[in-house]
Subunit: 412 residues, 2 copies
């Protein structure tokens, strides 16, 4: 179970971003274990999520390979746990981790796991349904691309109106440096990605199949464009075919990656309403674009406006107003988006451990705060989104102009 | 100042409605005074409204004719009061009440004043901006027509989409026995009336000019249709030309006559947003029909959805859901729409004075409750809308099946 598979192409080509992954080209035990778990366990299984929280990925994978049953997490019935464990063991027994990782490397995809600098901390909102790991393909750093992002979803069988609005909205958001996160389907998803790419934004497509597969086939050239100028993401290992269930669990990732979801055009039975439900459950901003009441393809959006209290958005200005506060405050010179008082104890502990000028790596900060890597990473993401800290060559540092973390940052 | 002018054509042709007006064909002093005040004072002047509340119409009119200044109401600055009083006196001096009333009678219009059975009690929500009186023309009783009504407003320069939706919505509401209240303009107003008339609902047009004038001229045949099968209403006496200010103050009546206002299609500068503001100020339900975000003609509706928390409505079912509770409960056999505990002391006093089976006239009830006619009428309107009482041949009675007013109504 030696770590294999170089990360290719590097996580982020931006010169001022520390390519943490490049320092350590080998994957950790934890990462390899998580890669294998994406193969043996169904995506987003909350029992697996709870086991990972409780025992850690290496222990879970080791248990599955060794055949020993790990104790069930609190609240999980013994039978549900037992049945799953048996199934996972069966699948794990024949699995070659090297093969999994090399298959991913062969298609130019990399593995991103909780604790990695590229891991989007906002996925922690999914709790025990957080992906075990993400397979990522593309030139852009996933975490950076999603810091200032909006999910745009809608019907596959969109109208000319819906396609026009999706493309236009993504393009105008790109002009304001907002990235689009969507699926890979025909219709609204594709129109949004095309609009974002036209606006030179690193658009993010979250797929419900392995990154070696192209579904739907007709989007092959779009996916190639996204891989070249944006990011393709999946929680499924290469070779996984899309399923109806896969699309539904995938939607939670689209909602969780962003501070808000816009439903551009959707009928009453559209899967986009499932993404909208995830956004609400995650306390993210839910937005809907209205359309003609004579169009059944907008009936889902109107239901969101009427019954789900979605915000009515008609252009990029409206969308930015709904989700823009934190993003705007991330710009240099802005204040913090959150009051320091609003931080929980752990976040304050992490913030106190971030140096003001020199910067420090995640491991150093975690050790100074006396917290685990995973926990520290999540809080660092929160603090960055809140405008308290920023990335620098050596890791993380307190943002200049941010008061009262240790005082030194506001002194000459 | 003898009462003149027969009411023509009678207030309400419905057989089971008491034609209270017919019992007393002569107009009261109060009514004649109010008729004259619609000529001398600008519509909806809050100083006049406060004077009427304080002194009564006969005293105000007598004062203006006699040249004596009545004391200013509390909160009205002496100068504002003095200037107005002088202007009103000037106009009153040359006015012949007989001429005012006969001019109205000549065009087949009747006068409706607070206290009349046809007076819509919900106008009391306008407080000191309540119309002094209404000039009404048409076969239908105004109060009855508005009991189950929705205001539908929008742009004059509507799109084909807006016209289609307005007509369709009014028609579908008519099928559910909901009346439409609107203005008399081209565009959404006209489309709504036409849809309501096609659905055989007694549509109500509130005009900003005298009922002898037709503005806009092209709506002459529509107004004739409304007079024949619905109701034309104005707070202006015959001969009053429409003004921009007149349209704005008229909008408050459209909003106040109904439990809710639907803005069907409106640009950002549409006068329909003024009606929407009145609806909000009056705590009525505000609804907006969405449209394509690519249409500037729907931008006002989208602003109402986004910033004014208007309910998003797409068809008659949506509208009925928003305003339907009280209306539905008015149907025979329904319970009361309000809990008895929700009534204020005066309303409870009036309810206790309404007999259970035989019924009594407004004056009898007012005297039994020890309250003024006007106050009693307002509370009777509330009690009727709440499902506690109903009209009968001899006036008002407690609705059968309504518990605990005096018990007798629920006993065999």
């Amino acid at each position: 179970m030696t770590p294999t598979g170089p990360r290719s192409p590097g996580p982020c080509p931006a010169a001022d971003e520390p390519a943490d992954g490049a320092v350590d080209p080998a994957l950790s035990d934890d990462a390899v274990s998580r890669a294998c778990l994406t193969v043996v366990a169904g995506a987003g299984d909350p029992v697996m999520g709870a086991l990972l929280d409780l025992h850690g990925a290496s222990a879970v994978w080791g248990g599955l390979r060794g055949g020993g049953v790990l104790p069930a997490p609190a609240g999980v019935r013994a039978r549900a746990h037992g049945e799953r464990w048996e199934r996972w063991c069966r699948r794990a027994s024949g699995l070659d981790p090297d093969q999994v990782l090399s298959a991913a490397a062969d298609i130019g995809s990399r593995l991103v796991v909780p604790g990695d600098p590229e891991w989007p901390g906002q996925l922690d909102g999914l709790a025990e349904r957080r992906p075990y790991a993400l397979w990522v393909r593309g030139a852009h750093d996933l975490r950076n691309a999603c810091l200032r992002s909006v999910a745009m979803v809608g019907s596959r069988a969109a109208s000319a109106y819906g396609l026009h609005v999706a493309g236009d909205l993504a393009w105008a958001l790109a002009a304001r440096s907002w990235t689009c996160v969507s699926g890979g389907a025909y219709g609204i998803d594709s129109a949004a990605h095309r609009g974002a790419l036209a606006g030179r934004a690193p658009t993010v497509a979250v797929l419900a199949c392995g990154l070696d597969l192209c579904y739907p086939r007709g989007n092959e050239s779009l996916f190639a464009d996204i891989a070249a100028r944006g990011t393709l993401v999946s929680e499924h290992p290469p070779g996984t075919a899309p399923t109806r269930h896969g699309f539904l669990v995938r939607n939670r990732i689209i909602a969780a990656l962003t501070p808000g979801t816009v439903v551009v055009e959707a009928g009453l039975r559209s899967g986009a309403l499932n993404t909208a439900r995830h956004a609400l459950d995650l306390c993210r901003v839910l937005m809907a674009v209205p359309g003609p009441v004579t169009s059944a393809l907008s009936a889902g959006c109107h239901r969101l406006l009427r019954e789900w209290r979605a915000a009515c958005v008609t252009d990029a200005t409206d969308v930015a107003e709904q989700v823009g506060h934190i993003g705007d405050d991330l710009r240099p010179g802005g204040g913090t988006a959150l009051a320091r008082d609003a931080l929980d104890d752990l976040a304050r502990k992490v913030l106190d451990s971030v140096p003001a000028r020199t910067g420090a790596g995640t491991a150093t900060i975690a050790s100074a705060a006396g917290l685990g890597l995973d926990l520290t990473l999540g809080r660092l993401g929160l603090l960055a989104a809140g405008g308290f800290i920023e990335r620098c060559a050596s890791g993380w540092r307190v943002r200049p102009g941010t008061a009262d973390s240790d005082g030194s940052s506001v002194l000459p």
